[in-house]
Symmetry: C2
Subunit: 363 residues, 2 copies
């Protein structure tokens, strides 16, 4: 039981900026003189239309999204995108390229196989996904409708750097759920980018899709209306009732990101936060990072102690100290610290201090 | 600009109990000593597992849901259900019966046609859906996988009474989005019931599905994993990250419903609220209800003045008086007052007083 806010290192749903939660709290019963909560507001009301339009525009500005991209807010998380992408894009050659870099890429591959051929061009599965494979143009053989990557692998703590992106002529599709707004991403390199909100954007239940407009409109006949991007593009994400409160929270987070100086400023902080933690791991005789240095994520940092007993002891003592949700994914074991935008530098510093103390007592 | 809470007659998203919003407000930064908001909480945490399990159990109790039914929380609203239902159920005869009683039934019909044959058994479209057609057993001809109805038609203000339910041997499927918990519904009469939360249950972005367990598991091969009920049934609605905050809010609403005495007690209040408003309409020389008396909804009450000029004047003056969102759907015109569980009797009384005043001044 805590009477204060903890440091929350959960992978998602994840920590949100305290300033954002305080605004939501203040506006809960009466949003800007409307006499009602955003939760109670018709999605067709002027007040909500304003919220959704501002949110779109703020994202466009923060991510430098060109005019020939559509921004959509949909439901169902990444797992629904795994079906929407082939249903909407795997339409000419019925074939797509995939880089298998983790569990979420694997799920995208399985789902694509329902609708066509999923060609795995490279994989790091043999090394428990501890690195991002380097591919060259020659690796992408034959026709395909698109190439798919998971930009930042939440579970395994790897991320793509620009030099490792597929060098292909087909549209690139990417899952940026765990790195959106945490580092600069060149939208123009991609045909479609998507992100579940619950890591770096806001609460679970909203998925952001950024899609080149000329890719919209070719869905397969069997596509459910709600899984056709055209439905959402044509209706400003309001074909039916969107997750209004989630979009409002996402909008508040975007305004907070802008107030912090935008993505460049946050990336600079994120690089410092990650450097602090990786340096601690690299200097430690007890803790060990699991990812090769060149592919290390800025957002998700998995690490292990030499024994499960020590891992469990560390997690238990950290939890007691208010350093929460440090248990790693079962396929990696050990610990994982997710240090998204909302985790302040002091949060990482507190974790590192705690790790150093723990090391002294347990080595 | 209001410095107080208004009466909100929106059809959905709609008014929520003020008590519920106050709890959400108080718990926004620290839920029950966890040191974090529910929004920030891992869906795999003990605290959230407790929330989702309590919410399921509370719904089971409030609606008297038998053990052989699964309760699921999914995303995508009713419009996604329109695809999930045929994808999961239209599997043997590739054919289903429909009663066309409004726009949402029509959308369900169109979507079902993607996957099979949608047989419209009866329709009230010729009378702008102002009544519920009476059918008999003989009207349902040939084999079908299920029969579909929209129990309460939000736009047109009609609802099914038990005597008008289809008399069929196939599973009955029903959209109860706008009447769930507002009146007693005998779950055992149905194979599947679903409700978008944003009318009587909580915020937009969560859909409740109540489904007979023996109907789960026969989805078509082309079904996206997230649109297969089995995915959600097998994973306690947590195959992927569910809309955690929406489920929490829904849980708070259920506890509020219980505190009011449950569905029977709320139905009694709802009958009084509806009677007050319908009596006003029936006695008025200016306002006129649009629905035949025997099929009138307890939840959505459409009415009109003799001219559009008067309709617009009424809506404008009501809005100024803090009686919000009374504009009717464009296909009906005039006004509509949605008086869900969260609208107190005094809200309806205030509206009726305002209508009587308006009538005096404008007749």
């Amino acid at each position: 039981m805590f009477d204060h806010r903890v440091y929350n290192f959960a992978a998602g749903p994840a920590a949100m900026p305290e300033e954002v939660l305080k605004i939501a709290q203040a506006e809960m019963l009466n949003y800007k003189g409307t006499g009602m909560s955003v939760m109670e507001m018709s999605h067709r009301s002027a007040a909500f239309e304003n919220i959704i339009n501002e949110t779109k525009n703020d994202l466009k500005t923060l991510m430098n999204i060109p005019d020939d991209y559509e921004i959509m807010f949909v439901q169902g998380g990444g797992s629904t995108q795994f079906a929407m992408i082939p249903l909407n894009l795997m339409t000419k050659y019925k074939r797509a390229f995939f880089l298998k870099t983790g569990q979420w890429a694997k799920k995208a591959i399985s789902e694509a196989k329902i609708y066509g051929e999923a060609e795995v061009v490279a994989s790091s599965e043999e090394a428990v996904f501890t690195y991002i494979p380097q591919t060259t143009r020659a690796d992408y053989k034959g026709d395909a409708d698109y190439a798919y990557i998971c930009y930042n692998n939440t579970i395994y703590g790897t991320h793509f750097t620009p030099g490792k992106l597929p060098d292909v002529d087909v549209p690139l599709v990417t899952d940026i759920s765990s790195c959106i707004l945490g580092e600069k991403i060149d939208v123009t390199k991609f045909g479609l980018l998507f992100a579940g909100a619950q890591k770096n954007l806001g609460p679970a239940g909203v998925t952001v899709v950024i899609m080149k407009k000329d890719l919209i409109g070719n869905a397969m006949d069997i596509t459910p209306t709600m899984l056709n991007y055209k439905t959402h593009a044509d209706n400003n994400s309001m074909y039916n009732t969107p997750p209004t409160y989630g979009i409002y929270m996402l909008g508040l987070v975007l305004k907070w990101v802008a107030s912090q100086g935008g993505v460049d400023a946050l990336e600079a902080v994120n690089r410092k936060k990650a450097a602090l933690l990786y340096e601690c791991l690299d200097n430690s005789k007890l803790f060990k990072g699991t990812v090769v240095p060149e592919d290390r994520s800025l957002m998700n940092v998995p690490f292990v102690c030499p024994t499960d007993e020590l891992n469990n002891k560390f997690i238990a003592e950290a939890t007691e100290a208010g350093l929460m949700e440090l248990k790693g994914h079962r396929t990696v074991g050990g610990m994982r610290a997710s240090i998204y935008n909302a985790t302040p530098y002091e949060g990482v510093q507190t974790l590192v201090n705690f790790m150093e103390d723990f090391e002294k007592k347990n080595i």
